[in-house]
Amino acid sequence: GESVGLHLPTLSVQEGDNSIINCAYSNSASDYFIWYKQESGKGPQFIIDIRSNMDKRQGQRVTVLLNKTVKHLSLQIAATQPGDSAVYFCAENWGSSASKIIFGSGTRLSIRP
């Protein structure tokens, strides 16, 4: 079946360094992708999204890269801060139904002081 996966379940990064979180997707029909951040005890929060007609999108300290050739999505966080500690997961959409959204299981990002 279709799935969204993550290359690494956990990631430890030095404070101030850049973080890169990866996500693989398998549905070539997916045309909209979202990264969410979930802090402990809270619900997922939208970080950034990207549509399939784009390769790159930048936000505040975050960049999402989409490589459709290898069905790969990444989230880059610049100058990682303690407040970035959370679980990050991606979601892919390939239609207008809620049943056509798949969420990855997440990567836990921890920050070393």
Partner: protein, 114 residues
Amino acid sequence: DVKVTQSSRYLVKRTGEKVFLECVQDMDHENMFWYRQDPGLGLRLIYFSYDVKMKEKGDIPEGYSVSREKKERFSLILESASTNQTSMYLCASSLAPLGTSSQHFGDGTRLSIL
């Protein structure tokens, strides 16, 4: 900012009980969703609703039902709770159409069935 409010953060119920989880959103969103979140599995869709009194089954609807009598409120009902329904339940809402915008999530209800 969109606010999605789930009525309980933590809930403990007994096997066989009927359990109600309530969710309210304040942004007049058409779409509302119920997910459960289990370690290592990602979010799994239980039910969703495109409009008042409309509901659609998601990937794991067995043992659950929903109610949407008003646009802002979407309730999840466990008809007869079982221990395998112990989980984190997340409610979300979004503006139509789906597939073009993100979802806004509540902070979840951690439900334990004893």
